[in-house]
C-alpha cells in the first residue's frame, strides 16, 4: 500500500527573485507539514528537473539545501509526465520497503528566471536535433501537427478546442493561486494571436514560476486516506515524426494497463486530472482514456460534464492552461488538487464525490504516458 499523505502547492505565475530551489523548498515544506511529519522523517527524495538551473544531481542539491539526508534520492526526467512517473516510482519504493516517506518535489522559476524565448528554445529540444529542430518548430508546432491530424480524422473544429481553454479558465477563477483571473470566452480564444495554427495563444498553457510537492508514505499519517490504487506507463516514441498512428496511442496502452493493475473501470471514476499543455492535448487524452467518445469530448465540455458540479469534474484548479505550467511542478498541481478534493479540503472548489480519481500525464509529444488511479479509503 502507498498513500499520498501530504500535499503542497505554491501559487503559479510570477515569483520574482525566487530560484528553482526556493520554489521547491516552499512546496516541500508545505507538503511535509500537511502530512504531519518532521523533515527528518523523510527518507526518500524524488525531484524533477529545472531548465533554468540544470544540474546533474538535482535531488542531492535539493536535499542539502533543504537540510535532510535521505536514504534514497535522485532526479527523474520524463518531460510533462515526470510528476506522475515520480509518484509511480515512490509508490513502488514504499511498497518495496526502500523508504517510508518519499518526498516528491518539483519547482522552477521558468517565467522570471529566463526569457520566454529561452524557454521556447529549451523546450523545442524535445525535437530531433538533426531532423526536426533545424526546421524551426516549437512545442506548439509539434502539438499543432498532432491537432491538425486529429481534427482531420475526427472532425473537431478550432471552436471545439477553445471550449477546453474556457473550461480551464472558469475553474482557475475559483482558485486564488492560479496564474489567470480573467474569464475568457470561445470568441476570445478564437481571436487570440496565432502561435502554431491551428493552435492560438489561448490554446497554449503559459510559462510560470511555481512549485509543487507531495509525500508518498507506506502508512497513512492523517485521518483522510488517499491511496494509490494502480498505475502504469507507456512510451511509444520520442519525436512526433516517429509517433505511431492515432490507432495505437500511448495513452490507450497506459490506461489499459492501469485499469488492469487497479481493477477498476472508467465508469468507476469520479474525478479526473488530465494533462492539458494545449487544448488539443486535453481533448485527445480525454478521448484516448475513454472519458469521452472519439470526437465528443468538446460536446461534453459544453454540456457541463467536466465542470465542478458535473458528472466528472476535471482539473478543478484550472490545469496547466490556467493554473499555470512551471515545468515538472505543472502537472504535479493536478495531483495536489486531486488529493485536496479526495480529502474534502478543496474549499469553494469542493466537488460532491471524488472517491476514485484518474490522473494522466503526458511527456514529449504524446510520447511518454503515466496513468494512475487514486482511491479514498476509510
Amino acid at each position: 500500500m502507498s498513500y499520498i499523505t501530504g500535499v503542497g502547492l505554491t501559487s503559479y505565475g510570477r515569483h520574482e527573485g525566487s530560484t528553482s530551489l526556493d520554489l521547491m523548498s516552499k512546496a516541500a515544506a508545505l507538503a511535509i507539514a500537511d502530512a504531519g511529519l518532521e523533515r527528518a522523517e523523510i527518507d526518500g527524495i524524488l525531484c524533477g528537473y529545472s531548465t533554468v538551473s540544470p544540474h546533474i544531481m538535482l535531488a542531492t542539491v535539493f536535499a542539502e539545501h533543504f537540510g535532510i539526508r535521505p536514504a534514497y534520492a535522485h532526479a527523474v526526467q520524463v518531460g510533462g509526465a515526470t510528476g506522475l512517473a515520480m509518484t509511480m516510482l515512490a509508490h513502488h519504493l514504499v511498497e518495496a520497503g526502500v523508504a517510508r516517506h518519499v518526498l516528491v518535489v518539483g519547482g522552477e522559476n521558468r517565467l522570471t528566471g529566463q526569457s520566454r524565448d529561452a524557454s521556447i528554445v529549451a523546450l523545442a529540444q524535445v525535437g530531433h536535433s538533426d531532423y526536426e529542430v533545424p526546421l524551426g518548430p516549437t512545442i506548439p508546432a509539434y502539438y499543432g501537427l498532432v491537432a491538425s491530424r486529429y481534427m482531420h480524422q475526427y472532425g473537431l473544429t478550432q471552436q471545439d478546442l477553445a471550449e477546453f481553454a474556457v473550461l480551464m479558465r472558469a475553474h482557475a477563477l475559483t482558485h486564488p493561486g492560479a496564474q489567470f483571473h480573467e474569464p475568457i470566452t470561445v470568441t476570445d480564444v478564437m481571436a487570440s494571436k496565432p502561435v502554431a495554427l491551428p493552435l492560438k495563444l489561448l490554446d497554449c498553457c503559459p510559462v510560470s514560476d511555481g512549485g509543487a510537492a507531495f509525500v508518498v508514505s507506506r502508512e497513512p499519517t492523517m485521518a483522510a486516506r488517499v491511496r494509490i490504487r494502480g498505475c502504469a506507463q507507456a512510451h511509444t516514441h520520442q519525436h512526433v515524426t516517429a509517433a505511431p498512428s492515432l490507432s495505437e496511442l500511448g495513452a490507450e496502452i497506459a490506461i489499459a494497463k492501469a485499469k488492469g493493475s487497479a481493477g477498476v473501470a472508467i465508469s468507476d471514476v469520479r474525478y479526473a486530472a488530465v494533462y492539458d499543455s494545449f487544448t488539443i492535448t486535453l481533448a485527445m487524452l480525454l478521448e484516448d482514456l475513454g472519458l469521452a467518445r472519439r470526437g465528443e469530448a468538446a460536446a461534453r465540455v459544453r454540456s457541463g460534464y467536466f465542470s465542478r458540479d458535473g458528472e466528472l469534474p476535471l482539473n478543478t484548479h484550472g490545469g496547466l492552461l490556467s493554473y499555470g505550467h512551471c515545468g515538472v511542478g505543472g502537472a504535479m498541481a493536478h495531483l495536489v488538487e486531486t488529493q485536496l478534493q479526495m480529502t474534502g479540503r478543496a474549499g469553494n472548489r469542493q466537488v460532491r464525490d471524488a472517491s476514485l480519481a484518474l490522473l494522466h500525464g503526458d511527456g514529449g509529444v504524446l510520447s511518454s504516458h503515466v496513468s494512475m488511479f487514486l482511491e479514498r479509503v476509510r
Partner: protein, 119 residues
C-alpha cells in the same frame, strides 16, 4: 567520407533514408543499425521527394531571431512514397492528403526540404 551519400541535414539538396537488407524495413532517422531487427546491413537510399501530407502546422511565433525572419512558415509531416514519415517545410496552401513533391529552400542559414502540391 566523400563517397558517402549526403542529405539536407548535412547541407546537400537530397532526402536520404535507410533500408534494411535483412528485414526490408525503412527508417528515416540515421542509425548504424535497423531499429526494427537490429541488423547492421543497411542501404542508404535517396528518396524520390514524393509523398502525401499527413499533418500541418503554420508557425506564427518562432523562438530564434533566424527563424523569426521567416514567419509564418508551414511545418508539415509527409508520408513519403518510400514508406517513411518526415518533417519538413511546406507551401501555405497544403491540406492533409495532398500529393506533394519536395524542393529545397534556404531557412535560417541552411537548406531544408520544402513540399508543394504535385503539378
Amino acid at each position: 567520407m566523400s563517397d558517402k551519400p549526403s542529405d539536407w541535414t548535412r547541407g546537400e539538396a537530397a532526402i536520404l533514408y535507410q533500408s534494411c537488407r535483412s528485414c526490408d524495413k525503412v527508417q528515416y532517422f540515421r542509425r548504424d543499425f535497423c531499429a526494427a531487427c537490429g541488423s547492421t546491413e543497411l542501404r542508404e537510399v535517396r528518396a524520390s521527394g514524393k509523398g502525401k501530407i499527413y499533418a500541418t502546422s503554420l508557425v506564427c511565433r518562432a523562438a530564434t531571431p533566424e527563424a523569426r525572419a521567416h514567419v509564418p512558415y508551414n511545418i508539415v509531416l509527409v508520408d513519403t512514397a518510400e514508406g517513411f514519415r518526415m518533417m519538413a517545410h511546406g507551401a501555405g496552401d497544403l491540406a492533409i492528403g495532398d500529393d506533394v513533391v519536395a524542393r529545397f529552400v534556404p531557412f535560417a542559414g541552411r537548406i531544408v526540404p520544402y513540399f508543394e502540391k504535385e503539378q
